[in-house]
């Protein structure tokens, strides 16, 4: 089974987000990690490989810093990585999906996994777009995957429950939290990862030009949420503080 994992490097969830002098997101000094949902996808790919045999390839779009995230996933057990640096000013989900799909189209694949969303942009559309471009089915937000011959059977979240969906392979499945518990790389894995192939490509290597991947959506500005004003803290005997709280919610905040 040839498995491709779509991966993104993101800010650490602990990161405090600030703006730089130009009013854009400040990337200086921020700890970077594998997008947690993509980490579930990497882990699931490894488990499927362990059960059914095969190969796990990682594909990511970004700059040189992404190599670190890819090395980490290689240390977990993935076999090879491809990093595409588009070197274009503005990218959106259309850009990323177009590049990823083109890179994947040139590889062998039976199954494509990715996180259902990234914790930075949170737009939850790149993997679906890749499926659409490759003309293969997608199942989003999956918490369980079984491979049955040339089919995948995935359990996906729906509102108020879940559903079990069967799709023919190849297919794109996106990981939801709960799919698995990602492993930590072992020392041996980290050593081996240094020797695993990491291909670096540009748009031209994929036969694309900047015009074909031009972003459809443009950002006008970024801003931070205004800090919440200091609230009222009630201290004292339970019945009194509870009564004071309920009164405040009704008469002051007028929310109940």
């Amino acid at each position: 089974m040839k498995i491709v994992v779509l991966m993104k490097q993101t800010f650490d969830t602990e990161a405090k987000v600030t703006l730089d002098k130009e009013g854009k997101i400040n990337r200086q000094g921020v700890n970077l990690i594998i997008n947690p949902y993509d980490e579930f996808a990497v882990e699931e790919a490894l488990r499927i490989k362990e059960k059914h045999g095969g190969e796990v390839s990682l594909v990511s779009v970004g700059g040189d810093s992404v190599q670190e995230a890819l090395r980490q996933a290689l240390a977990m057990g993935a076999d090879r990585a491809v990093l595409i640096n588009p070197e274009v000013e503005e990218i959106d989900e259309y850009t990323t999906a177009t590049i990823l799909a083109k890179a994947v189209a040139g590889m062998e694949y039976d199954l494509i996994l990715g996180g259902w969303r990234a914790i930075d942009d949170g737009s939850a559309q790149v993997a679906g777009r890749v499926a659409e471009i490759l003309n293969i089915p997608v199942v989003n937000q999956v918490t369980k995957i079984e491979i049955e011959g040339d089919k995948a059977v995935a359990t996906r979240d729906i509102e108020g429950g879940n559903e079990v969906v069967e799709v023919p392979l190849p297919a794109v499945l996106t990981a939801q939290k709960g799919l698995n518990e990602p492993r930590y790389p072992t020392m041996k894995g980290i050593m081996q990862a240094k020797k695993k192939p990491m291909e670096k490509k540009g748009l031209a290597d994929l036969g694309l030009d900047a015009g074909q991947v031009a972003a459809k959506v443009k950002a006008l500005s970024f801003f931070l949420p205004s800090p919440r004003a200091a609230g009222k803290i009630f201290e004292g005997e339970v019945p009194e503080v509870v009564a004071a709280l309920v009164k405040a919610l009704r008469e002051e905040a007028k929310v109940i």
């Binding site: 799709v167 459809k216 500005s221 503080v241 109940i256």
Partner: protein, 328 residues
């Protein structure tokens, strides 16, 4: 020339979801300012009966896509019939609620139509004839204002509970256009659907949320916040700590690796207020924190806080709300 603002009317359990009305109410205003028609798309099996409600909330026309294969939502089936309709009529904008299905459908349709998609938007404005959307990034640690200058339709998903909904206008009717729709072969086959029986609202759509964290000390104690939630008609949420401890299912998690919520009231019980949790609930209108640690981070964002033992405070609070709601 593209024209018209189109809205996807999401149906669940035979009812139109509230977020559809929220979108219709807001975009009715933009449609009037632009001199455009506001149209709704309703898809499913035997759903035409819901069309009049969409008219009452502002739709001028309702396109009803009906077919046997649309009885259950499938990504392939709905993408096909909705994208085909949009290709034919070429609207200027197409908006959906940012629900699990709305997100799923929007991404596929956007790619098929080769257009941009802005997801989970919390605000929208009309500037120089362009729709400009505000959307959270880093789970609400920052926001960005985005627009889609050229590609059409402009597509966006709107977070439930953030746009206000106008009262339906009795007697206002929409023209209903019925289309029999057959999506052809579906690659996704639904083998089974498991519904958790819950009378509580969805977390992302709830007006009030009561959440528990590490301070709950164990799964058995969640019943005290469930009792409070039920008195208020609220949803029950949890912090990552409570989910990772295995006390409650992941579907209840609020925060950067869980759900992002914007209720009117968010009551945090025994939640310290890690940055990832605050990102997920920081846009709530009124935050109430109950925690025994006066230094807990959650108090820095709370509008109201009680420093005390939640096991003593919450049951009294439940009784107090019961009395209040019985008398009003």
């Amino acid at each position: 020339m593209t024209k018209g603002i189109w809205v996807y009317a999401e149906v669940r359990d035979g009812k139109i979801k509230k977020v559809t009305y929220e979108i219709l109410s807001t975009f009715r205003r933009f449609a009037d300012q632009l001199g455009e028609e506001l149209c709704a798309v309703l898809a499913g099996k035997n759903v035409a009966g819901l069309a009049p409600e969409l008219g009452a909330y502002g739709a001028d026309k309702v396109y009803v896509l009906e077919g046997d294969k649309l009885e259950h939502y499938t990504t392939d089936g709905y993408t096909k019939v909705v994208a085909d309709l949009l290709k034919e009529y070429q609207p200027a904008a197409f908006l959906l609620g940012c629900t699990i299905r709305g997100r799923d459908l929007a991404a596929q349709v956007a790619q098929r139509l080769q257009t941009g998609l802005m997801t989970d938007c919390t605000d929208v404005a009309l500037e120089d004839g362009q729709l400009v959307f505000t959307r959270p990034i880093y789970a609400g640690k920052a926001y960005t204002r985005v627009y889609c200058p050229e590609a059409r339709p402009v597509m966006a998903t709107i977070r439930p509970n953030v746009l206000s909904v106008a009262a339906p206008q009795e007697g206002r009717t929409a023209e209903v256009i019925k289309i029999s729709a057959d999506p052809g072969d579906l690659r996704q086959v639904i083998r089974d659907v498991v519904r958790q029986v819950s009378t509580r609202p969805e977390l992302t759509e709830a007006d009030i949320i009561v959440s528990g964290g590490r301070g709950m000390k164990g799964p058995e104690n969640f019943k005290i916040i469930e009792e409070l939630a039920d008195v208020l008609g609220a949803a029950v949420g949890a912090s990552r700590a409570a989910v990772d401890a295995g006390w409650v299912p992941q579907s209840m998690q609020v925060g950067q690796t869980g759900k992002t919520v914007s209720p009117t009231i968010y009551i945090a019980c025994g939640i310290s207020g890690a940055i990832q949790h605050l990102a997920g609930m920081g846009s709530s209108k009124c935050i109430v924190a109950i925690n025994k640690d006066p230094e807990a981070n959650i108090f820095k964002v709370a509008d109201y806080g009680i420093v005390g033992d939640l096991f003593q405070v919450v049951p009294v609070l439940t009784e107090e709300f019961k009395k209040l709601l019985a008398s009003s």
